[in-house]
Amino acid sequence: MARPPWVPIRALGRHHPAPSVWRATMENNAMRERWEQFTNTGSRWGSLVLVALLAVLPAVAPPYLRSLVIEVLILAIFAMSLDLLLGYTGMVSFGHAAFLGLGAYLLAFFTRSVGANLLQALPVVLLGVALFAVVAGFLALRTSGIAFLMLTLAISQMLFGLAIKWSSVTGGSDGLAVARPYVGIGGATLGFGPDRSFYYLTLASFALAWWLLRRITASPFGHALRGIKANEPRMQALGYRTHRLKLTAFVIAGLFAGVAGMLLAAFNRHASPELFGWAVSGEAIIMVIVGGSGTLVGPILGATLVHLLESYVSSYTELWRLVMGLVFVGFVLFAPQGIIGLLRRRGRPPSEVELAAAIKEPEPAALPKERRT
C-alpha cells in the first residue's frame, strides 16, 4: 500500500481514502453529510418519520409484534445509553446491566410501598439511580481500560448477588412483582394495561431519550466526550476536567439505562435478578457494536436486529447463541463500524475524531508498546 509518510496509517483505514480524494469529494458532498447525520444521531426529519411510522404501527400490527417493538424500543434506549460510554467516551463498561436492574427494582420497590403512579415513581427512581451511579462511577472511574471494565462487571455482579441474597427486600431469586403502572395528575389517571397505551408510553420515552441524547451528544459536553475518547491527556492539557466529564457521562448513561429498566419492569410487571447479569451487559455491547458505536442510530439498529434475530432464531434452535456469535464475528471482521458503517458508503472524509484518533497512534496498532516485562 502506498502511503505518504505524513499520512497516519489509521487515516488509510478501509473506509477512508487518501486525503487528496476526500478533499475532492468534499466539494459536492452536501447530500453525503446529510446522510451522515441521518446515520449518526439521526436527522431531524428522519427521526420524526421513524417515530411517526412507529406511532401508526399498533393500528396494523398484532399484539405480539407490538410487544416485540416495545422490547426493541426499551433495549434501544439501553443500548444508546451504553454507547454514550462505549462509543462516545471510549469507556467499555461490562456492567451496564447494573443500572437496568436498578431502575427495575427501584420501580418495583416504589410500586409496592407507595403506588404505581409512574409520574411519582420517575423522580424517585432517577434520584436513586443517579446516587448509585455517582458512587459507582466515582469508584470505577479511578481506573480505565480493562480495570474499568472489570470494576463495572464487579459492581453489577455484586448487585446480582445482593438481589438474590437479600430476599426479604428483593424477593430473592424469584424477583419482585410490579403493580400495573399508571400515570396520574391530580384526579385524572391513565392506566397502562396490556393494550396499546403502554406501547405509546414506551414510544414516547424512546423518542424523548433519543432527542435528549442527540442534544447531549451535539453539545459542547458531547464534543468533549469525543475528545476524551480520542486523546484524554490532550483534553486535560486543554484544561478540561476529564474525570468530572466522564463521571457526568457515566451518570447520564446510568439514568437512561435506569429508565430502560423501569420500562422493562413496568412492561413485564416483574423485576428479576437476571436483569443484573453480565449476559445482559454483554448483549448490550453486541447491540452497540453490531449497530455501529459512536452513533445513536447504530445502537437503535443494533438493538432491533439483535433482539429480533434472537427472538426469531431461538424459536427454531436452542443453539441461537451460535447464530448470534457468527453474526457478531461477521460484523467485527467485515463491518467494524456496524450496520452504520455499511450504510455509509466509502468516499466520506474521516471525521475530526477519527483523524484525531489516527494521529494519536502514529505507528501500526498491531504492535503493542511500552510494555512491562
Binding site: 472489570m150 457478531f328 504492535l367 508498546k369
Partner: protein, 293 residues
Amino acid sequence: MTLDTFVLQLTNGLVFSLLLFLMAAGLSLIFGLMDVVNLAHGAFYLLGGYLGLSIVRWGGSFWLALLLAPLLVGVLGLLLELTLLRRLYRRGHLDQVLATFGVALIVADLMRAAWGAYVEVVAPPALLAGQVAIGGLAFPTYRLAVIAVGLSLALGLWLFVERSTVGMQIRAGVSDPQMAGMLGVDVPRLFAGVFAGGCALAAFSGVAAAPILTLYPGLDSEILILALVVVVVGGLGTLRGAFFGSLIVGMADVFGKALLPEFSVFAIFVVMAAVLLTRPAGLFGRATATRGA
C-alpha cells in the same frame, strides 16, 4: 476455627489458588504479549475439559487426555490466530477482543451440540484417587497433586519466559515489538505461537480441573470471569501477577466461604475492587499500564 480446620482450609486455599493459576496463566500470557484479552479463554478451558472427557471415554488414560486435549485446542487457537485475529491487528485491540467474544459464543454452543447439556465428570487417574492424612484430617490425593502441578507449571513457565531463547524473544516482543522485529524476531510467528500456547494452557487447566469442578454448559463463562479477576488483581500480563493474583483470589474465595459462607458470593469481587481502587494496574502491573480493551 480449630488449628486442624485452619490447616485444612489453608490447603484448600492452595489447591484453589493453583487451579486459578492454571486457568489464568494462558490468559495472562496472551495479554502480556499481544495486549488482547482473550474472551474465548473460558470456552477453550471447557473445550479442553470436554475433549479430555472424550479421550478418556474412548479408552485413553487421563494422562493422555492431559497431553492431547491441550494439543488439539492449541492447534485450534493457532488456526484462529492465523485466520481471524491476524486480520484485525491493524484495527486495534478492541476489535480483537470483540472477535474473541464472538468466538466464545460460537464455541460454547458447538460444545453444547457435541457434548450435550448434562453435567459430566472426568475421573482422576487411579494413581491419584483416595486420600492422604493432613493434620489428622483426610485430604484427597488428587487435590494435592493439583498443588504440585500448579507449582511446577509456574516454575516451568517462569524458566521458559526467563531462560529460554523463545522466552527471551517473547520478553523482547512484550517490551518493544518493533525493535524486536528489527532485531530479527519473527513477531507474527511469535504472536501465533503465544496465542496457541495460551489456548493450550486453558485446555490443560480444563482437563486438570475437571475432576474437581466437573464440566457443564455455562462453566466457560464462570471460568472466564474467575480468570479475568485473577489477572486483573495480579496485574495484567505478568506471570508473577497471575501467580500472586491466584493466591489472593483463591484464598479470598476459600476463607470467604469458610468464615462468611453467606457472603462468599461477594468475596472475590470485593477483593478485586479493593485492589483495583488502590492499585488500578493490579498488584504487579505498572502504574501506567491500565490500557487494554
